[in-house]
């Protein structure tokens, strides 16, 4: 469904994008380096735990400098805001004691170079983004969304709550060249409630599509709402969500999204009224429906909408009855042919979801473990550097000076290795995040399939209704033919019922159309999902592996040069001690045997 150019450029974009990402990361000095603490990691992975996180599928559209800057900004911001002052202190001291390594030859490794030279279309897309969705489908038109500048705002006092309640607004900036949007760059201020509205409207209007799930509402007290970390998490989550919408081939062109992004002032999307008033509405309609004053039918246009709580109580009851009938193996309505194939597929997808959840969880654990190793190495290296400094200061013997040098060499290398470990981790997170993304997409899939089931239920309900009404007509006709003469009342009733049947049929047709429409959407979306997922996962694996290879090589080089240097130092030293004729027996003390261990014995 996507343009064929996507296939070729995908690979190229991956490698060049990781290059871009790496040079982005490496350009930063140690102090402003996104020192991933636990909280930063969390914000990088966006808000809550991966499994219940409403994480979003698919890719983001290509991002440009605006987002690169915001990536640095957002990370720097979270770095500053994070309570992890020890890490900032630590990195500062590292900078004091160790010269920042030169990354002049920063291109990954020879191997990475080979890989990127494989692809022809070296289409460079600066794809680093604060949303960390590195894999993007390319569209010929762009739609880039960033969320920044959270601001506290005060709601005027409501009658229930004394004083005003405060809320947060975010600046939503869009850059696009899609024609429907008038203008190329614009901003609006929205609050989270508006996002909920947008999500609800999209769910209504685009049944059957895999709609990226929105960020969770949080049931927390207002104290927490105000905390910088929470706000930052939410900002990030919003940006991810909107970017995913912008990446969806159909949703990116929706009016709802456009209004949300562009319409200045209060959002013109009518929100759902609260439950209470809906129930009241339903209650009002109910007597009329029950006593047949208005037709108890579902008007055709409403048939294509799902039964809403409250308003259509009677319809709800009917559809409930229908589903019970279906479940209990009553006379099944005609539309079931491909149910089985559909159900099989659904089962497979359940399985996939479970495996995906597992993998995503383990990926997170892996990244965390890698992070810990990197951090401990940093502490160890620092301890060595301190020893080196100490021994240098207190040096009374030559032996001490030599020792200080050895220790400093190893300490410096350890700190370098630690830095590489942590950088590798940052990159790995970006890749493995795809697992989270697609896990979130499963949610969208469930919703889309639920749409389908609901639509089917509506059709079935209407068909049952129709049959029932047709039967009534039939019975009346039979009754009429038995009697002699014309019963004015009965005649009128038959006419009325015939009208009802007509409307019923129209409603059923409309519902059927909607059901077919949703089925088709399901199908195309699933195809798109499968294709994208395969490609994205392959790229993910590749990206992850290359990151590991690249950084392992770098770390290996660091250590190799230490081994070389100290080997030279050692042979030089053994000559010295031979000539000095000290009381100590020799160079190889018990330690060598301890280390040689079983090999030596």
């Amino acid at each position: 469904m996507m343009s064929s150019e996507d296939d070729d450029s995908q690979e190229a974009r991956l490698f060049t994008s990781t290059d871009a990402m790496e040079s982005l990361v490496l350009d930063q000095t140690p102090i402003s380096h996104p020192f991933l603490s636990n909280s930063d990691y969390r914000s990088a992975m966006s808000a809550s735990t991966p499994l219940d996180e409403s994480n979003h599928p698919l890719a983001s559209p290509p991002k440009h400098d605006l987002s690169q800057r915001s990536f640095r900004d957002s990370n720097r911001k979270s770095f500053q805001d994070s309570p992890n002052s020890s890490s900032s202190r630590r990195s500062l001291r590292e900078a004091d004691l160790v010269e920042p390594p030169s990354y002049a030859d920063a291109i990954f490794t020879p191997h990475m170079g080979d890989a990127s030279s494989m692809s022809e279309n070296g289409r460079e897309v600066g794809s680093s983004s604060s949303s960390s969705i590195p894999y993007s489908p390319t569209y010929t038109d762009t739609l880039v969304i960033t969320v920044t500048q959270p601001q506290k705002s005060q709601e005027p006092g409501t009658s229930l709550v004394p004083g005003g309640s405060s809320y947060v607004t975010y600046l939503i900036t869009t850059r696009t060249n899609i024609r429907e949007y008038q203008g190329t760059e614009f901003s609006v201020r929205r609050r989270f409630r508006d996002v909920v509205t947008l999500a609800d409207r999209l769910a209504d209007a685009y049944r059957g599509y895999f709609i990226p799930p929105r960020p969770d509402k949080s049931i927390v007290e207002s104290q927490v709402m105000q905390k910088a970390e929470f706000i930052e998490q939410r900002r990030l989550a919003l940006e991810k969500y909107l970017s995913r919408l912008a990446a969806h081939p159909v949703l990116r062109r929706s009016n709802e999204l456009r209004l949300f992004l562009q319409f200045q002032g209060k959002l013109p999307l009518t929100p759902n009224t609260d439950i209470a008033s809906r129930m009241l509405d339903g209650a009002v309609n109910l007597p009329r429906q029950l006593f047949g004053e208005s037709s108890s039918l579902i008007p055709p246009q409403e048939a294509s909408q799902p039964a809403k709580g409250g308003r259509d109580l009677v319809r709800l009851f009917k559809e409930l009855k229908q589903s019970v009938t279906n479940d209990w193996g009553g006379v099944k309505p005609a539309i079931v042919e491909e149910d089985r194939a559909f159900l099989e597929k659904k089962e497979k997808l359940q399985d996939l979801q479970k495996q995906l959840g597992d993998a995503s969880q383990q990926a997170e654990a892996l990244v965390k473990a890698q992070q810990e190793v990197g951090e401990v190495m940093g502490e160890l290296g620092l301890a060595f550097i301190k020893i080196a400094k100490f021994e240098t200061e207190e040096a009374a013997t030559d032996a001490q000076r030599v020792h200080a040098n050895n220790t400093k060499r190893v300490g410096t290398a350890t700190i370098k290795a630690s830095r590489f470990h942590r950088e590798a981790n940052v990159q790995s997170v970006k890749h493995l995040d795809q697992l989270h993304e697609y896990l979130g997409l499963m949610q969208a899939l469930h919703a889309a399939y639920a749409d389908r089931s609901n639509a089917l239920l509506t059709v079935q309900t209407l068909m049952t209704d129709l049959e029932a009404n047709k039967l009534k007509v039939e019975k009346l006709h039979q009754a009429a033919s038995k009697f002699f003469g014309v019963d004015k009342n009965r005649e009128r009733k038959i006419e009325e019922l015939k009208e009802v049947v007509k409307v019923n049929e129209a409603a059923r047709d409309s519902a059927q159309q909607e059901y077919d429409r949703i089925k088709e959407r399901n199908r195309t979306e699933l195809e798109r999902l499968e294709k994208d997922r395969r490609k994205d996962f392959l790229n993910m694996i590749r990206g992850f592996v290359m990151t590991q290879v690249g950084y392992a090589e770098k770390i290996s080089n660091v250590w190799a040069s230490v081994v070389e240097e100290s080997a030279n130092g050692l042979s030089g030293k053994s000559l010295d001690t031979t000539s000095s004729g000290s009381s100590t027996p020799n160079c190889l003390g018990p330690v060598q045997w301890m280390i040689a261990g079983p090999r030596g014995i």
Partner: protein, 415 residues
């Protein structure tokens, strides 16, 4: 594949652990083969201690004895007693937790430490000729058991009355110190020595920190190995679910994760034995230095006390000459005895000072060598691990290329 060879091989000197001198054959000692003996609560580990005497011409016969941890403790305590001023090589800790007393790791760590303990003693110019060491290394089972029992019993009463007095005085000074609080007037005020004490203190802090971090590194590396293994499993399952070239790719990813997980666990073990434990040993060495410092302080106080006591006695003697001539003879005897003791105490103190100076120099040399080797081995192991890691992941790449191109094919054919 890159192999990083231990640079220790470069520095090897021929002829084994110590260069034998003309007058003294050198000892090659090893502690091996831990075996669990005894039943139930009384079970313990015994070790095989093998000693070879090495002359300049050839290697002598090998002597093998079986010893347990408490035997080593005995030897250590004897050496501490007899060689004040010398930094006695430290023993590994007594086990804190009953549960781990017999874990393979604990036993191996202990075995290595005991091995190192004996090797250090054997390479020490004074300690190597210790009678106690000889007994430890050569006495057969029954002889050994008898010796130990005899010496242990006798050790309390072995001391001369003079020693008793010493003991008393030592207790006295300790108590006085406690009573008077921290203000001990009886302390050496040698600025050089102060510097040394300060140095040792700080060094202990630094090495403890390094040991702590290295232990944490071992732990984290084990955890990483574990996480990689779980990740590999999950990814393989996912691959089964996906099927097709993607499924293959996931399987391969999972496979390599497994391989690396194993390597990481092994290397973590390596790190523990060859890095963390040796550093820990050095922390213990510093503690033994501090014990010697305590000895020195005690010796100083003792000689100070005895010297003053002697002066006092002398003064009293003069008084007695005038007042109680009948007591003079007895007093003169006491004064003479006191002088002897005071001189002895001073000699002992000066011995300690002299030995300590030598030992500090030796310690610096050994520390540089030992820690140099430890650090180098650490670097080597890290280099090897990183190289292996890169290799393992790299093998995936051609496979991934295949999967990607297969996938592209499938796409093209489906369109």
């Amino acid at each position: 594949m890159v192999r990083f060879f231990a640079a220790t091989q470069q520095g090897s000197r021929p002829g084994g652990p110590q260069s034998p001198t003309a007058d003294q054959p050198s000892l090659s000692i090893s502690v091996t083969d831990p075996v669990k003996l005894g039943n139930g609560v009384q079970s313990y580990i015994s070790y095989r201690v093998s000693t070879k005497t090495i002359n300049q011409e050839d290697r002598g016969p090998e002597k093998i004895v079986i010893r347990r941890y408490s035997d080593f403790v005995w030897l250590h305590d004897r050496l501490v007693e007899k060689h004040k001023g010398i930094f006695i090589p430290p023993l590994p800790e007594k086990s804190a937790v009953e549960k781990f007393r017999f874990s393979a790791e604990f036993i191996e760590v202990r075995r290595r430490a005991l091995d190192g303990f004996l090797k250090r003693i054997a390479s020490h110019p004074q300690l190597r000729s210790s009678e106690d060491l000889k007994n430890f290394l050569t006495a057969d089972e029954e002889v050994w058991a008898m010796e130990k029992a005899r010496l242990q019993e006798g050790s309390v009463f072995k001391k001369k009355p003079g020693d008793f007095l010493q003991m008393f005085k030592e207790v006295q000074t300790k108590v006085t110190d406690v009573v008077l609080g921290k203000d001990k007037p009886q302390e050496e005020s040698d600025p050089e020595y102060e510097k040394v004490k300060h140095y040792v203190d700080e060094l202990e802090d630094h090495l403890s920190e390094a040991q702590k971090q290295s232990f944490r590194l071992v732990k984290r590396q084990r955890e990483l190995g574990q996480a990689l293994s779980e990740f590999g499993k999950a990814v393989k399952s996912l691959g089964n679910c996906e099927g097709g070239p993607l499924g293959t790719a996931f399987s391969e990813l999972g496979g390599q994760s497994d391989v690396l997980s194993v390597k990481l666990q092994l290397q973590a073990q390596d790190l523990l034995m060859n890095f963390e434990e040796p550093i820990k040993e050095y922390v213990r060495i510093i503690q033994s230095i501090k014990n010697v410092m305590v000895d020195r302080a005690q010796a100083y106080r003792l000689q100070k006390d005895l010297s003053e006591a002697f002066k006092l006695k002398e003064l009293n003697l003069e008084k007695l000459r005038l007042v109680r001539p009948d007591k003079v003879a007895e007093a003169e005897l006491e004064v003479r005895e006191m002088k002897v003791q005071s001189d002895e105490a001073r000699a002992r103190f000066q011995d300690i000072v002299r030995l300590m100076a030598q030992e500090m120099e030796r310690f610096q040399e050994e520390k540089t060598n030992d820690l140099g080797t430890i650090l180098q081995e650490f670097a080597r192991a890290q280099a090897q691990l990183a190289a292996d890691t890169a290799d393992a992941w790299r093998t995936l790449l051609p496979e991934l290329d295949k999967c990607t191109s297969e996938d592209v094919q499938t796409l093209k054919s489906s369109v």
